[in-house]
Symmetry: C2
Subunit: 240 residues, 2 copies
């Protein structure tokens, strides 16, 4: 009940991008703990599997979002990514998370720009000053739109794009508290917040019953994150 | 057939935001004249009338776009604008285009940010260096996302959001050649390019047969633009 315990105050409304994966579910638990009235926003965007939308709805309810919207957009119409192209192969057992050097084939062009733009629309309508996004620069350094300089540039653009930019009121802040954390640190944070990771989805290529493949970049990073905390990942995997 | 005649060269692929209204149709004719292989992008976004989507398809074909995509997004889910809220009244016969001082009720939160984000996704997939948008700062100074400083900030953000930002290749340029033009100048340009304005839509509140109301901000601006050129607007109006 003191200022040092952020759970007690009302930090105001916020929009939070919620995929239903490990990072954004941890982010949700963190923002709710810190007193934000979280308006969670999830996208159906032509991804090859929609299990994560179900996981997002579950998380929004379980961790105390005050509202949850699911927006349908078709990023597959533009092509350009293994994640939105049913014919493309998701890489497995590669030597690093960037699938070799450069940008992973799982990169979806301008995805975070589009997601943040929708979040900005909702934030402006709500009068929310904060947008939360669970990007992570250390583990996903190959994605251009996961880097701190991108987040800063989006924030600057957003300040000019909205009423605040004309009326001189406080602009929206884009908060990415996980950006400098290792996967093991994110798992540790989530466990301390009571997150049940059994129902989060991270796999790029799950089987039809939703079990993770254990071999794609996302699975490998996640498994290492739990291993570093001396605990097992409670999610269901095809491979042991 | 010289460098001074831009119609003769291939200026490369470009993505162009096409609403089907007067400004974006003029922009399309201009970009095609200048040698761009225009990929036109139109949105269905929960607006109260979809006639402009038909007008956009017509214009894309007539003025030589090499491709036309229509993306469906639901901006009405967030509320906040008379243009996406069927219960809100579109203002008529107001004293200026901003409907009094400040930001018009027809402003849709973050709309141009969202539109440009989709255009960015397509541009990156195509390898296009140019995105065209028909914003106009003089006539729409009340819209925060029609100002030159917004366009510049979006361009800076886009350079960091995409492969170009990591790989060091040339970033996308956001071109807004109409931004400093008066409506009368845009009409003059379009007439010189052979644009048939009979089939463009500008009205915020047309009747069910598509006739413009003649009284909303968009109609008043447009009618003045033709008047200043000493010619009549060929579009159909409810009022003479």
């Amino acid at each position: 009940m003191t200022a040092s315990h952020p759970a007690t105050g009302d930090a105001g409304p916020a929009v939070l991008l919620l995929s239903g994966g490990l990072d954004s579910t941890t982010l949700l638990a963190l923002a709710v703990r810190d007193g934000y009235r979280v308006h969670a926003l999830t996208f159906r965007y032509g991804q090859r599997h929609a299990l994560e939308v179900e996981a997002a709805a579950h998380a929004a309810h379980r961790y105390g979002a005050v509202a949850h919207q699911i927006a349908s957009i078709d990023l597959a119409m533009f092509g350009g990514s293994a994640l939105t192209n049913s014919a493309a192969e998701v890489p497995k057992n590669t030597t690093d998370n960037a699938s070799g050097s450069g940008i992973p084939v799982t990169y979806v062009p301008a995805r975070n720009t589009i997601f943040l733009s929708f979040a900005l629309a909702w934030a402006e309508t709500l009068g929310a000053r904060d947008i939360f996004i669970g990007v992570n620069a250390l583990d996903y350094s190959g994605y251009p739109d996961c880097r701190p300089e991108f987040i800063t540039a989006f924030e600057r653009m957003a300040a000019l794009a909205t009423r605040a930019g004309v009326e001189g009121s406080a602009p929206v802040r884009v908060r990415a508290p996980l950006i400098d954390m290792r996967k093991s640190e994110i798992v540790r944070l989530g466990l301390s917040l009571g997150v049940d990771y059994a129902s989060t989805t991270s796999c790029y290529d799950p089987d039809i019953s939703g079990r993770a493949c254990g071999r794609c970049d996302a699975c490998r990073l996640r498994l290492q994150g739990f291993l570093a905390n001396g605990t097992a990942d409670p999610a269901a995997y095809v491979t042991a």
